[in-house]
């Protein structure tokens, strides 16, 4: 059952990611990306990260993608031919990344990981994450809050015509 779910979610995610890259209409690309994000949320559930799965749907598939769709509609982009870049640098970087991916895959397959750890039933629940966030990672949490505030102010300043 778990294997079946994994394969369905993984294949849908990869197919939708390919569709996102090669679709002409930006709105279709955005919707494909939303499906990818939902599939990843499903994988998070299989991996016992329930809190992050919820956050993934709410923040990523909800807030960020709504922002994307909103901006695409706001800019009123016309449907155009698939703008693919044909550049020499792209080919060079592409080959380098292919080699990197191959090395990565070989490294993944050849490395023996330690045995899967035994986890408690409440692994990855909101209680555990909150405990870590408000004790060990308190400073980083505050910094993230300031970062989000700065981003909001910056976004308004950049996008607004006149302050």
């Amino acid at each position: 059952m778990e294997a079946l779910m994994f394969w369905i979610l993984a294949l849908v995610a990869v197919a939708m990611a390919v569709m996102m890259i090669f679709h002409k209409n930006p709105i279709s690309s955005a919707l494909s990306l939303i499906v990818v994000l939902f599939c990843t949320a499903g994988l998070y559930v299989i991996l016992d990260a329930t809190f992050l799965a919820v956050i993934q749907v709410m923040v990523y598939a909800g807030a960020i993608m709504v922002l994307f769709v909103f901006v695409i509609m706001l800019l009123n982009l016309r449907r155009e031919e698939l703008g693919l870049r044909r550049h020499k640098a792209v080919k060079v970087i592409g080959v380098l990344f292919c080699i990197a991916l191959l090395a990565q895959l070989v490294a993944i397959v050849s490395t023996a990981l330690p045995a899967v750890a035994e986890i408690s039933a409440d692994f990855g629940t909101i209680e555990h994450i909150a405990w870590l966030l408000f004790t060990k990672y308190m400073l980083a949490f505050q910094a993230a809050a300031i970062l989000l505030l700065a981003a909001v102010v910056g976004a308004v300043v950049i996008a607004k015509r006149r302050i």
């Binding site: 778990e2 294997a3 994994f6 993984a10 995610a13 990869v14 990611a17 390919v18 996102m20 890259i21 930006p26 690309s29 955005a30 990306l33 990818v36 994000l37 990843t40 994988l43 998070y44 299989i46 991996l47 990260a49 992050l52 956050i55 923040v59 960020i64 922002l67 994307f68 901006v71 706001l74 800019l75 982009l77 703008g83 693919l84 870049r85 792209v90 970087i93 990344f97 993944i108 990981l113 330690p114 899967v116 750890a117 692994f123 990855g124 994450i129 870590l132 966030l133 980083a140 970062l147 989000l148 700065a150 981003a151 909001v152 910056g154 976004a155 308004v156 950049i158 996008a159 015509r161």
Partner: protein, 105 residues
């Protein structure tokens, strides 16, 4: 065919690598800045998937906190980046990344 029915952490790592590469392909190939931006989100997401796969493998919840922060940074990045594209569209009437050449000439 045990690799088909027995899902290990390696499966998740390979999937994350494939998703990351697809994101890279999009960043390299597409001209539309908004699509490039979405591909960057996809790459961040692939990195998150590796974190969570290792969190399950090693039984460490700290990785979940890292993913939480990555999501916060992605949200901030999306807000600022989209604002930049709105401003660019207002100035140049395009979001194509290779038409933003004001500093080039």
């Amino acid at each position: 065919m045990s690799w088909l029915t027995q899902i290990t952490t390696n499966h998740y790592l390979v999937l994350a690598a494939v998703l990351f590469m697809l994101g890279t392909v999009g960043v390299l190939l597409r001209k539309n800045g908004l699509i490039v931006f979405m591909c960057i989100e996809l790459m961040l997401n692939a990195a998150n998937l590796t974190f969570i796969a290792f969190a399950r493998q090693l039984g460490q919840e700290s990785a979940h906190v890292v993913v939480f922060f990555v999501m916060a940074v992605a949200a901030a990045e999306a807000a600022v980046g989209l604002a930049i594209f709105v401003a660019m569209f207002r100035q140049k009437k395009t979001v194509y990344v290779d038409e933003a050449t004001t500093l080039k000439h």
